[in-house]
Symmetry: C2
Subunit: 98 residues, 2 copies
Amino acid sequence: MTTRSPRLEIEYCTQCRWLLRAGWTAQELLTTFQKELGEVALIPGTGGIFDIRLDGETIWSRKESGHPELPELKRLIRDRIAPDRHLGHSDKQAGSST
Amino acid sequence: MTTRSPRLEIEYCTQCRWLLRAGWTAQELLTTFQKELGEVALIPGTGGIFDIRLDGETIWSRKESGHPELPELKRLIRDRIAPDRHLGHSDKQAGSST
């Protein structure tokens, strides 16, 4: 099966009813990275999973870090697929006053 | 890149701003076929595309048939991946009085 790269995967727990959270995350990321992302795949899972992978690399796992904040998630993705992009508000939350 | 099967793809035109339509369709289908679908991939496209593919087979193309109605779409998918499933309201709309 042919996929588009960069491929972002969001695997979410159906038992936890995280489809809407996953769908919202997908749409936020496709809005921000409209030209940079090849595809975003929503993958039903179980057991409390909410993992986000970019071309196979796990960039977020709820079991390790809790649910991601979108600005943090956008920075992680930006750094990998569009390092020169500025993210507006999402960048401003990155540091403190520096 | 490993994908999950059955893989449903929704390729939508970003110029037409169909992300929300695609995202809504994805969530509807993942709700109905929670256990049957391996993944749903949202794919940004251009030029008025709104195509839906199941494991590579195009089951809907807006340029041929206009935007899909969800009950019709669910029946097309059900027939392929869960032929014994009843779809409730979506089934009832299929025929006329027969």
